[in-house]
Symmetry: C2
Subunit: 475 residues, 2 copies
């Protein structure tokens, strides 16, 4: 019978093997990737900087399910809706994977009737986009969102969002960057005075949004050709969207004979001026550019919009520099929560999303170039033995150390060679080795070896924990 | 035109409203939930304890995508496969949401040809099960997995997994618990000597697995009725599965005339004995029970299996006690990685999964009962003003504090009342208020108010950061 069992298990393993040989493809789904220990170490470093910034600004944290009712996402993303992942209908509700963290946040606010919150949310979102993994564009990727919801005096929360982007990008030392700022009201006003029919505002806005990737000529021909805008209107837009600057540009546009006559544009420009005043107090206008070509794709923005872009480094020492692009974006969306409320009650919101995957790509490439060795564990000490038959003693000692809160490892062998144990420490960066031997056991001591210097000291067993703590807090 | 824009926006908002009124259901998908700031604070507390234990044992961390190729999950979960969430076929690969973290881990090892790793992975998994949310059973839930992969001397990594469960459950102070241990080889041997045909091993194993929920009589009638086992075989199984104990039971079974003749059972019992020796060295046998009724549902286990169960408290001061159940489980799965390898190369693995949702439920209920007030932010100081027209001064000061790494908030109002500002601190637990006023500005000082004592001190502006650090490190 035992043989039969073994045969059965064998057959089962075979089955697995055969499948593997013939058709099974061993991979992660398209546009996704695993994070190994090294990538995780980098990822956690970046998250730490971002979370500590969000907490510095007093944010709470929330989490929502990875999928939502399909209808929750319907009608929020404009042309991008086709990129949403749906779940199979297996009976029950129709579900979709979240496309961003903003719509789930709005749903959360409406559902819980929250009118006032400052929260962050770090989680994966899903888009059936064309992946470009070397440039950090994935189908499953993290977003790090910070949002302020509530009815407040104008531009104070908006300014804080920009301050946060500035702090995070500075802190991560990603090189020079600029944060482009615009306002949907200024865009809408501009479209109006240029003679764009109301019905074409959103689609023309999508065209303008492409200006960071393609030249004006192409965008213009899309507007006129595909979208049926008059050439004159397109040319008028062309004049505006090349403008970018600071306070002086805002002042100039407030005097612009056409724009200043448009109510929403004027509101937007007034708020933009106020925003720049607050950013001046924060001392960050040096990296802010009021840019009339910034449009942002999503439907739900209603006011200020912004996007942070890394600038190409002149003396980039990395050979294959990650192609430069947007690393953060956000804006004001005062209508979104109301879309979920039965009575349409609005909760004004403004927020920022850090596009962490591009930042990972840059940090990874930089680490590779620097040849810095990154530790993937925090182990303080390896419990080792120089002689045979000491497994039990090693188990006893390591158990003592764990119970005292020391981070300790041992090799899972009955009689490991000392050399192998020391090599393991070299490879993994463990700084200390606690060696038990017959003599040490008799004397009530443990030999503590400092891996870096090869120095060995004899430590009384009852002082070992304290000694390890002292020695590892130094390094 | 401006009017037209406003009208358009109005219409859009209306549209959202009408949808909301008529058919839109505002909820999270069945079996899922949001985590608000309070729940997140509890969750992060539990994660911290678990992660610090995993790190104490020298684990690296990895992450994998939330979905896998459908075929990656095929044939790994036995009867539970029907609970897997599939994604809709939108062109391209067929995908499923991960059901656990073990199969993705095995896929990761095979794909990267890793034969040796100790890693943890904390992430959400998905099961289309019948949710019982009050008892912490969800369709989307976290698993906290720790696994050791590699060819090692027997039972050393297995013992460490049990030590980890013991450490985490002790650390979280969830009350008394027992860790049941068994071995698939002992079960298989037992089935063989009881006269179960080989082909019925797995399905009879599933029946045994129900013994923690339903009485033996029911399980027996399922075996005999539905699964066609002979009543004599069932009765023989019935005698074995009521056995539980420690080393003395292992010794007794090693002498059992039938079981000791079965090769796999003997191997399993020999290893069980070794395991108990190591657990004795770890000093944790008091909470370990060798239990022949433990079967575990999943197909992929090949050796030691275990499950931790909370025991009912006698003097439970919580009125509605969370119903007691399994909070951790795991075992050895030496064949799973080989199923993914084209050449069937095996990587022996053993691991443990902490079922954190039940733990959250318990911690949440306990917190509610205790009326402890949990802080959801870490804000150290509120930047406030007593007079009007000091928004700019508040912005300047808060910016200085943020840049110095102080966690600071302010109200987003031009002229907030001092009382409202103080109330905000009381509500959210912010311990300090930095008050700017005309006089303070002239004198180059800031008034620092300690919320708890209402004491106020005058601090020179250049010493403010240091003063806040000192005062908040004390509390």
């Amino acid at each position: 019978i035992a043989k039969e069992v073994a045969k059965l298990l064998e057959m089962k393993a075979q089955l697995g093997t055969d499948e593997g040989k013939h058709k099974f493809v061993l991979k992660t789904p398209k546009g996704t990737r695993d994070f190994g220990p090294k990538e995780m170490a980098i990822r956690e470093r970046a998250f730490k900087a971002i979370i500590s910034c969000f907490k510095r600004h007093g944010a709470e944290v929330i989490d929502t399910p990875v999928f939502e009712l399909k209808e929750t996402l319907t009608g929020k993303y404009g042309e991008d809706s086709k990129l949403i992942y749906d779940l199979k209908d297996q009976g029950g509700e129709l579900l979709s994977l979240r496309y961003d963290l903003t719509v789930p946040f709005a749903r959360y606010l409406a559902m819980n009737k929250i009118t006032n919150i400052k929260r962050y949310h770090i989680a994966k979102v899903y888009r059936r986009d064309n992946p470009a993994m070397t440039r950090g564009r994935y189908r499953e990727f993290y977003q790090c969102d910070f949002d302020i919801a509530g009815q407040f005096d104008p531009m104070i929360p908006d300014a804080e969002c920009l301050k946060i982007v500035h702090e995070i990008l500075s802190d991560l030392q990603l090189g020079d960057f600029v944060i482009k700022v615009n306002d949907r009201r200024i865009l809408d006003g501009m479209f109006a005075v240029c003679g764009v029919p109301d019905s074409k505002f959103r689609t023309i806005c999508s065209s303008v949004d492409k200006l960071d990737k393609v030249p004006w000529e192409e965008v213009r021909s899309e507007m006129v050709g595909e979208k049926g805008l008059s050439p004159e209107a397109a040319d008028r837009i062309g004049e505006y969207v090349q403008l970018h600057g600071g306070l002086e540009l805002i002042e100039r546009l407030l005097q612009d004979p056409k724009l200043s006559q448009n109510k929403v544009a004027k509101e937007g420009l007034g708020d933009m001026k106020l925003l720049f005043e607050y950013l001046t107090l924060f001392g960050i206008t040096g990296k802010i550019s009021f840019d009339l070509s910034l449009a942002r794709g999503l439907d739900y923005y209603t006011g200020v919009i912004f996007e942070a872009v890394l600038l190409q480094q002149e003396n980039e020492h990395v050979e294959e520099a990650v192609s430069v692009g947007s690393v953060a974006g956000g804006g004001r969306y005062d209508g979104l929560v109301g879309m979920f409320d039965a009575k349409g009650r609005k909760v004004p919101c403004v927020g920022v999303s850090i596009g962490i995957e591009r930042i990972f790509s840059i940090l990874e490439q930089r680490l590779e170039a620097s040849e810095e060795k990154i530790r993937t564990t925090e182990t303080q000490v390896l419990v080792a033995s120089a002689q045979k038959k000491l497994l039990e003693e090693r188990l006893k000692l390591i158990s003592e150390l764990w119970d005292a809160g020391i981070k300790a490892e041992m090799l899972y062998k009955k009689n490991p060679k000392l050399l192998n144990q020391l090599q393991y420490c070299e490879e993994t960066g463990i700084p200390l080795v606690a060696i038990v031997g017959e003599q040490e056991l008799k004397d009530g001591v443990v030999k503590l070896r400092i891996v870096a210097t090869r120095e060995e000291v004899s430590v009384r067993r009852e002082s070992l924990v304290e000694e390890i703590r002292i020695r590892t807090s130094q390094c």
